[in-house]
């Protein structure tokens, strides 16, 4: 088990955004998360990546517990130094890319491996060039983010995440900020990763893509998992009325 989230609760003020959500991801699994906007998908990923603190539940990576909730309801995280160790297990690809604009593409990919993981410059650069090659943008190594199209920037962001050699990769609507004609090139890259059995959790509105690449689809609404299962089952034969209603919008 790479990731195990149990009974996660999260609220902003008195707005309960995640109510008792549990999610486990096995090695090599590709899990798609779909659902209406505001249902808590981003919050789920942000809790999994410790960008938000949870208000209840338990999160483990590779069998190591990062946060748990005591019977009296007190939530306890491991200390900051240990938490940084957990950050080695995962990476997150953002909707808005969040590349570092003052670094060249190559440096975007090598800076963290060198300064966070302590790899040698030569090794980091070699890995980076291989990844850029895989992403089809090796010729952009010396360019700066502003010189790239949105689709290319998102591929760089994916490469930057992969350069850290994570166990699991999270995507938060990786194509939502892109012009429609640019989504294909990004989805193709993610599909290749799925074929090479990269463990991934992908929040997406691209239903045909989700159906094609995932081993499991999770439908979320109002902070709960309404339904989950094989893509065929969830897309072609949904059991819950809420799921059917949501999917109907995409069929038009």
């Amino acid at each position: 088990m790479i990731l195990e989230m149990k009974n996660i609760q999260k609220h902003f003020g008195d707005h309960e955004v995640l109510r008792d959500i549990s999610l486990s991801v096995d090695k090599g699994e590709v899990v798609s998360v779909i659902g209406p906007s505001g249902s808590g998908k981003s919050t789920l990923l942000r809790c999994a990546t410790f960008l938000e603190t949870i208000d209840g539940g338990e999160i483990s990576y590779m069998g190591n517990c990062a946060v748990k909730t005591k019977p009296d309801g007190e939530v306890s995280y491991v200390d900051a130094k240990d938490l940084r160790r957990f950050r080695n297990y995962y990476e997150l690809v953002f909707q808005q890319f969040n590349l570092f604009p003052h670094y060249s593409i190559l440096k975007n990919l090598t800076d963290a491996p060198i300064h966070v993981q302590g790899r040698s410059k030569e090794q980091a650069e070699q890995t980076a060039m291989e990844l850029l090659d895989k992403m089809g943008i090796a010729d952009k190594a010396e360019a700066y983010p502003y010189q790239l199209s949105g689709g290319q920037q998102q591929r760089v962001a994916i490469a930057r995440a992969l350069a850290m050699d994570p166990e699991i990769l999270f995507f938060d609507e990786p194509t939502s900020a892109l012009d429609p004609e640019l989504t294909g090139e990004v989805l193709k890259v993610i599909r290749q990763l799925a074929e090479s059995h990269m463990t991934m959790v992908v929040v997406t509105h691209e239903m045909p893509f989700a159906k094609a690449v995932s081993n499991r689809v999770i439908f979320m609404a109002d902070g709960v998992i309404v339904e989950q299962g094989d893509p065929e089952q969830v897309f072609d034969n949904p059991q819950e009325e809420r799921t059917k209603q949501f999917l109907r919008v995409f069929e038009r």
Binding site: F94, N98, H102, D111, R160
Partner: protein, 215 residues
């Protein structure tokens, strides 16, 4: 008085002006960063102190602040410090300019999108690394125009050193003009300030251009 003696007398004043200018920058540019970071401190008393300091500095004339630095130790604490004129002057300028630079830095830091912090955090950078490697370089680029403005103001503000009878170029110009009944010293001082600012603008533009490799 020949023109060349006038020029050499005023040249000494120019050097003194340059001393005030460069020492002020040397002190206030880094101190401003410390102030800006302290203003974001977790401890409320620290934040309160810094806010108070910034509003007092911005709410009172620099000339008055210089007088307080010079006379304060004696009138407030009965201290007699030898050779206090120049240190008081530099303290006054540094503490004043640090407040203004702090506000510029703070604005710059707050203008960096939160996504930059989040990307760095997920990649595993420490807080210090995030600030030094990711945030600060982008802040420096963004605040360059405001810093240039402030530095140009400083070139002109150095003339306030006359308040403490420090013989920089402006004080000397007044004295020489009075004793020689000549307009020339003012002309020389004016050209000096103008050229100094021209150099500052040119240098800052070069720096801005150099940082233009990204957007």
């Amino acid at each position: 008085m020949t023109l060349s003696t006038m020029l050499s007398t005023m040249g000494v004043g120019m050097l003194r002006t340059f001393a005030v200018f460069s020492l002020t920058l040397l002190g206030s540019l880094p101190l401003g960063m410390i102030v800006a970071l302290l203003k974001k401190s977790r401890f409320a008393p620290v934040r309160l102190f810094i806010s108070g300091y910034i509003s007092i500095i911005r709410g009172t004339p620099l000339m008055l602040q210089l007088l307080v630095w010079y006379f304060g130790p004696f009138y407030l604490f009965g201290m007699n410090i030898g050779n206090w004129r120049f240190p008081a002057l530099i303290f006054g300028f540094v503490v004043n300019y640090a407040a203004y630079f702090a506000e510029i830095y703070r604005g710059g830091i707050e203008s960096i999108p939160v996504g930059q912090y989040e990307a760095a955090e997920v990649l595993g950078y420490t807080h210090t690394q995030t600030f030094m490697r990711i945030i600060l370089p982008q802040v420096v680029k963004r605040i360059m125009p405001s810093v240039t403005n402030e530095v140009i103001t400083l070139v002109k503000d150095t003339s306030l050193a006359f308040t403490l009878a420090y013989q920089e170029v402006f004080s000397l110009a007044k004295q020489i003009s009075a004793s020689q009944t000549s307009f020339m010293p003012f002309l020389i001082a004016g050209i000096f300030y103008f050229v100094a600012n021209y150099v500052v603008e040119f240098a800052m533009q070069r720096i801005e251009k150099w940082m233009d490799y990204y957007k």
